[in-house]
C-alpha cells in the first residue's frame, strides 16, 4: 500500500519494565486519537507490547518509533518501528513460528504479533540488531488473507 509518512511523532526508549508500560500507553493513546476501533486498538497495543518486550529481553533494550501514516486512499494508520542493537535472530523462520521460545514466555511473541497487525516486516542481522516494522490501519478493504 502506498502511503505518505508523517514525521515521527514519538521515539520511546525500551530499557525497563516501566518502558513497556509507557509503550503500551502511548500506542493506546495514539490509536484512540486516530480513530481505531477498540478491538484494533487492543490488537496493536498487544502487538507493541510483544515487540517491545522482545527488544528488551532478546535485544538488550532498544527503542520504538511511532508515526501516524495515511494511505493514498486517505485511510489513517499507525506505524511502529522497534529496533535494538542486540545479537540479532539466527533463524527468522524459527523465531516466527508458534511455540518457539529462546527464553521465558510462551513463544507466541513474534508470530503472534505478526497476526495482530496489518503489515509486518523484520530485518535482523547477526551482531548488528533487529528492526521490526508494523503498520495497522483504521480500516482496510476486505481482501484475502496472505498465504502463510
Amino acid at each position: 500500500m502506498t502511503h505518505s509518512t508523517g514525521s515521527v511523532s514519538a521515539c520511546l526508549p525500551i530499557h525497563s519494565d516501566l518502558d513497556l508500560v509507557r509503550v503500551r500507553q502511548h500506542v493506546r493513546q495514539m490509536t484512540a486519537q486516530l480513530g481505531f476501533r477498540l478491538v484494533e486498538q487492543t490488537k496493536l497495543v498487544t502487538a507493541a507490547s510483544e515487540l517491545a518486550r522482545n527488544a528488551l529481553i532478546h535485544g538488550g533494550g532498544g527503542q520504538m518509533e511511532c508515526t501516524p501514516v495515511s494511505s493514498s486512499g486517505g485511510v489513517q494508520g499507525l506505524r511502529l518501528v522497534f529496533s535494538d542493537q542486540g545479537p540479532g535472530i539466527a533463524d527468522l523462520d524459527q523465531a516466527l513460528s508458534d511455540g518457539y521460545t529462546s527464553g521465558e514466555g510462551l513463544g507466541m511473541g513474534l508470530g503472534g504479533a505478526r497476526r495482530l497487525v496489518h503489515e509486518f516486516s523484520i530485518d535482523s542481522r547477526r551482531g548488528v540488531g533487529t528492526t521490526v516494522t508494523v503498520t495497522s490501519w483504521t480500516s482496510r478493504p476486505p481482501r484475502p488473507r496472505e498465504a502463510p
Partner: protein, 140 residues
Amino acid sequence: MTGAATFPHEGHVPVLRLGGVLLVTLQGDLYDSTAEQLQQDIGATVADSAINGVVIDLSGVEVVDSFMGRVLSDVAAMTRLLAAQTVVAGMRPAVAITLVELGLTLPGLRTALNTEEALRLLGAEVSALPRAGRAHRESP
C-alpha cells in the same frame, strides 16, 4: 478511552480473602515485575491458609499479552498443585479476541463472565459475602 484506571502501579496487587476464596482484582496496566510478584503472593497465601479457590478479576484490564497470559496460566497450574482452583473473571471481549489471534487460547484456564459467576463456580456463598467496598485490604 483510557482513564485514570490505566495508571501503572508497581509493587503489590491487593489480594482479598473472602472465606475460602482469594479475590484478586487487576486494574489497568501492570508491570511485569508486579505480575510476577502477584504470582508469588497468591502461591504463598494459598499454601498458608485454607483457600480452595482464587478469582482473578480482569474486567479492569485493557491488554493481556503473552507474558500476562503466561502468568495467568502459571497461577492456575500452581494453585491446582496447591489444591485450589483459579477462575479468571470478566475478561473484556477485545482482550479475548486479541488473545485468540495471538494464539493464546489458554486451555486449562477456567473462566467466568464476572466475579459473582466465578464465586458461584467455586461454590462460595455469594449472598453471605461482604460487599466489595467493605472488604478490607490486606497488606502483603
